[in-house]
């Protein structure tokens, strides 16, 4: 009996989709754990660099490092936009982009030109669609954040800042709050704000410096900024996996519901066909 053949085909196709979404859900579940560990592993370094830098800044208040320069008038700003390389992770990237566009608009309204540095394929695609000035980018970052890939784009921005081409640098990424919640976050990287430089202990002692304080400061400031960006990237990756897991779970559930409804329709059609056939036979027998 050829009743509802198209419905059966449809059920099968939804089942296939469900298989894929379920597999993706399980993959992101296991990846999520790893990315969260990485996110935590990056913290001790950032804290350590921050304390040493704060101490150095306090002991040598007159260090005129170009990356520490503050400028009163902001004419050109750089924004680092962090995104995932792949899609299928719910509203994660879109939410960051919204935050990003809001910031771009705010800056442009103040007659500030905007340069963008993209980390992640989706960010690059989005900023190019918006015809923004992309100065540097790094894509195909993989599942593990690698410092190696970040150094290039960051060097571009920091050099521009040191040379006075940029007057402020921001970073936009998805902050990881928990598995169910990721929040687009915007932070100011440069100029370094005072809260970066808080020292816990304030009795006066100083290091011996080898070779000298300014060059060590240069090293520390760079490493500090890099570690902040690294942390943001690690957090974005954890958010990506969490968002994908949730999105894929929803997709799997939706597929299950669709299959259930289609089955109902199919069974009804089948029963209707049987009933019609029976009544035809009975009517035929009665006529004889």
């Amino acid at each position: 009996m050829a009743v509802g053949k198209e419905i059966l085909t449809k059920i099968r196709s939804v089942q296939n989709t469900q298989k894929i979404t379920r597999a993706m859900q399980m993959v992101s579940t296991s990846k999520m754990r790893k990315t969260q560990e990485r996110m935590r592993a990056a913290r001790p370094y950032a804290e350590k660099v921050r304390t040493v830098m704060a101490h150095l800044a306090q002991a040598n208040a007159d260090l005129g490092h170009p990356l520490l320069a503050r400028r009163d008038v902001v004419k050109r700003a750089g924004i680092i936009l962090v995104s995932s390389d792949k899609g299928l992770c719910g509203g994660l990237n879109v939410n960051s982009f919204k935050r990003f566009y809001a910031k771009v608009k705010e800056l442009q309204d103040q007659n500030v030109e905007v340069d963008v540095c993209c980390l992640g394929q989706k960010a690059l695609a989005a900023t190019q669609r918006a015809r923004l000035n992309v100065v540097a980018s790094a894509v195909q970052l993989g599942d593990i954040p690698k410092m190696d890939k970040l150094i290039g784009p960051l060097t571009v921005l920091f050099k521009q800042y040191a040379e006075g081409e940029l007057d402020a640098v921001y970073i936009v990424y998805s902050g990881f709050i928990n598995t169910m919640k990721q929040e687009p976050t915007i932070e100011q990287l440069l100029p370094l704000t005072p809260h970066h430089m808080v020292v816990e202990h304030s009795h006066s002692w100083d290091y011996l410096y080898e070779p000298d304080a300014p060059s060590l400061m240069e090293f520390l400031v760079k490493r500090y900024l890099e570690s902040v960006v690294y942390q943001a990237l690690a957090e974005n990756m954890a958010s990506e996996q969490a968002a994908r897991m949730v999105a894929m779970k929803a997709a799997t559930d939706n597929a299950g519901n669709t299959i259930k409804q289609l089955r109902l329709v199919y069974n009804k059609a089948r029963q209707a066909a049987i009933t019609t056939e029976l009544s035809e036979i009975v009517a035929g027998a009665a006529a004889v």
Binding site: R38, A46, L124, I151, G152, T155
Partner: protein, 140 residues
């Protein structure tokens, strides 16, 4: 014998954490050895190996680092290790690479794709040569 706490951290992970009686590090201006209660010291270190004498063990503990910074306090030592080989020229090469990546993706929209690609390939080749040159100078 007194001890000090040694921590080797990098952006990507905590590499080593433990007690030591004596530590030798490849500082930028030559190797330095540190005993507990050393005066506070801050120095850059070159790519190389950290050697530590650990209490209760005859063998030295070795930790390889690709450069970074050494912070010495009387009772603890922190090594902020780099995860990638660094250097002015090398960072410069990476920066050019990142710029190129951005520019090239823009070029995709235009017809000059093949010339852009050729230019880019050339730039990468030059960057790699530069990096190699730099590393060679470092080794000798």
């Amino acid at each position: 014998m007194s001890k000090m706490h040694v921590e080797v951290v990098s952006t990507e992970q905590l590499i080593y954490s433990g007690e030591a009686e004596f530590l030798v590090a490849p500082a930028l201006e030559g190797e330095i050895g540190v005993y507990p209660r050393h005066v506070p010291l801050l120095t850059r270190i070159k790519p190389g190996v950290l050697r530590m004498t650990v209490p209760g063990s005859k063998e030295e503990v070795l930790v390889a680092v690709s450069g970074g910074m050494l912070e010495v306090q009387p009772t603890h030592i922190t090594v902020l290790a780099d995860t990638a080989i660094r250097g002015e020229d090398l960072d410069e090469a990476r920066a050019n690479e990142a710029k190129r990546a951005a520019e090239e993706s823009l070029q995709h929209a235009t017809d000059d794709l093949s010339t852009a690609k050729a230019h880019a390939a050339l730039a990468v080749a030059i960057a790699q040569l530069k990096a190699l040159d730099y590393l060679k100078k470092r080794v000798h």
